[in-house]
Symmetry: C2
Subunit: 418 residues, 2 copies
């Protein structure tokens, strides 16, 4: 017997028939002898509908009242799933964020979970009752509903799993696991049986949108074993303890599971960055701080930074990337700070892609980056910038070459399925 | 300065533009110097949509989970109205049923309010904040959301008014007050300036569906002054302390307001009853108890009862009315108890109307019933049954004659507008 948390997203909860399917999937886990808590999202489209009402009320709506309005979507699906489970003969009840409660800070609309009172929940589960918990919401010290930000239900599920010391947190999504790369780009992409938290964080933050990044960070911190699997499995199949998804585990656990693992776990591509080039920046101490200080103050997340040799001895060129969504604000900040920075001109290029190879294996192996550069050079793909972390090497290329680069690297690192 | 509660129904809250109108109406009351709490219904149609999801989940859905699901409708409108008020520059916040809390008993889906913790609410209102409270819901001792039954928001408004000792509870509806009779039947119907709780109860229970009966009972018990007025007033008109609605007050207050008041306050018609005739019931002690005992056990609400002389000395005919909705169940109960009762046969007639004249004035005046009988007899309208209370005389007639009877009586009691 295990204690498990199951999480279902909005597509899985969209309407009576789909909720009934979810109820059957949950029932099978209980029938297999497990204690089960379920975390649910609002019906697909419902949160958008509610957010729209808020925007119509006021462009500068109160985030505390926004939380009151949008939290209702998950409240509805949690009550309905409890009913559907009861209709199948299961004992079940909903536990709203304020009922447990799930304690958060006071940051309305972007709250962080601080802890969960799990005593009543554990007693209910021990008595054979399935707990249904609305995702995305909690309670502040001021006794007000808070929400965690869009996509927060993954984080709720991991927090609940940590709170009740669950053996596993199963995230049911519309994909059936984490792949070595996007299967729409590379037909030979393989589903990973295991991936570490760190790898998942790097893959998620550079474009593999399977799980919310925050939920992975929390899982890593709280050592929650997370499994990603498809909610479109045959709900009449017997419940298996090890469903064929991807398990996200710690480095140590992975060592035990997979001694002969690949050097590289996956390849991610991200087209959401834009490149900014500042030419003829004065080459003196503190010049770079004058550029990136104001951008940081404007809450613009600068990713890669390269400083080139300029055309004269006294100045230099600086290239960096920002999210495309922040490009207009970046331009405004640069214009406003032109006298202080003293650059000659700037140009921007939204047509760039960041390609990353990720894998904990590269910690102990040299030559990962060299393999990447050679493979790209062989296909004449020009590298515009490079950045590295302990388990990742990223390069910036022309976005027209995205798919080609991913395919080339997938083969170069031996990731292609047989 | 007064402390007032304003209540808006689902039609008034249906969508952004209507909520914005409501916000303006509320703002004007605050601008007039009042402390204001607002009780809101869900958007028109929303509760039906949510109830439908519950029915699809299970015919025998859990009323506790039903409450979780349907209470969300008012949660949404309370958050939105708070935002709209803020957009107008008012201080405002929502207070959910569990936040105040509004204490109820444990009867899920049909809970009764036991009390309201008003301390935080009063402090907020005293600080100039408009309190927005979702109607229809509260919190049980088991810390679960409860709802009060459909239409319960009127009752919530009166309970809040009692809890904060409001000077007035204004119920905004899609009619602009309580009339002497249905204006669709009698063009000369007059809007009443005042009506007593008792009269309102009699008028509501026999068909004037302006206010939920429970809310009137509660207002009477807690001595809350309730005003019925239209939510379709010009929201740009100045806020008046005495808006042109109908004020529901106590007997004593009415005496002071309206010394020369009418003998009769209003005429109500109700087509929702059905007549049942049992023929040849044995004329012996206890025979009637054998009929009505089983009906009471089946929770069927018998209204008028008449015992006629039968065809022989040893038996009698018994006629009574039940709600049409209960007619099939009534037939089943009578069939099942035929041996015990010993009647010869029964017949039913759904084509009946109950016409009631209501007025506290009749307590001190003889001849009210005689006027009614004569007026109906003059137009050859046959009276099938009669029942009376201290402030009401009701007769049962053929439903084809409903409109004629109402018009005749409206004139006979001098209620026609000039």
């Amino acid at each position: 017997m295990a204690r498990i948390v199951m999480k279902f997203g909005g597509t899985s909860m969209a309407g009576t028939e789909r909720i009934r399917r979810v109820a059957r999937i949950v029932q099978r886990q209980q029938a297999a002898g497990h204690e089960v808590a379920v975390v649910v999202s609002a019906m697909a489209g419902e949160t958008d509908r509610l957010v729209n009402f808020c925007r119509e009320a006021s462009a500068l709506y109160d985030p505390a009242e926004y939380d009151v309005v949008v939290a209702s979507g998950e409240q509805v699906t949690s009550g309905l799933l409890a009913m559907h489970l009861q209709a199948l003969g299961c004992k079940a009840r909903s536990w709203l964020g304020w009922q447990l409660p799930i304690h958060t800070d006071d940051a309305a609309s972007k709250a962080r979970i601080e802890g969960i009172d799990s005593q009543a929940l554990l007693a209910s589960m021990a008595a054979g009752e399935i707990a249904v918990i609305p995702g995305f919401q909690g309670l502040s010290d001021a006794n007000r509903i808070t929400t965690l930000g869009r996509g927060g239900s993954d984080t709720s599920a991991v927090a609940v799993a940590a709170g009740i010391k669950a053996d596993r947190c199963d995230i049911y999504t519309d994909v059936d696991g984490v792949y070595t790369t996007d299967p729409r780009i590379v037909a030979k992409a393989r589903k990973l049986k295991n991936v570490t938290y760190e790898e998942m964080l790097e893959l998620a933050s550079v474009g593999s949108k399977v799980l919310q990044t925050r939920s992975v960070s929390l899982a890593m911190k709280e050592k929650v074993r997370v499994q990603v699997l498809s909610s479109f499995i045959d709900e009449t199949a017997p419940a298996a303890d090890t469903l064929p998804g991807t398990m996200i585990v710690s480095d140590e656990e992975l060592e035990g599971l997979d001694m002969e693992r690949q050097l590289i776990t996956g390849i991610a591509a991200d087209k959401n960055d834009a490149k900014v080039i500042l030419t003829a920046v004065p080459d003196r101490p503190g010049a770079v701080a004058l550029i990136f200080g104001p951008l940081a103050e404007a809450n613009i997340n600068v990713d890669m930074i390269i400083q080139n040799v300029g055309r004269a001895d006294t100045d230099t060129d600086v290239t960096f990337t920002v999210p495309q969504a922040d490009l207009e604000r970046t331009k405004a900040v640069l214009e406003a700070n032109r006298p202080g920075i003293g650059y000659e001109k700037f140009s921007t290029d939204p047509k760039v892609s960041k390609i990353s190879v990720v894998g904990v294996g590269m910690r102990s192996h040299a030559g990962v980056a060299a393999t990447m550069f050679k493979a790209l050079a062989d296909r004449a793909i020009n590298i515009q910038a490079i950045s590295t972390s302990e388990i990742k090497v990223s390069v910036l290329i022309d976005s027209d070459e995205t798919e080609l680069a991913v395919r080339v690297l997938h083969t170069a690192y031996g990731l292609d399925a047989e």
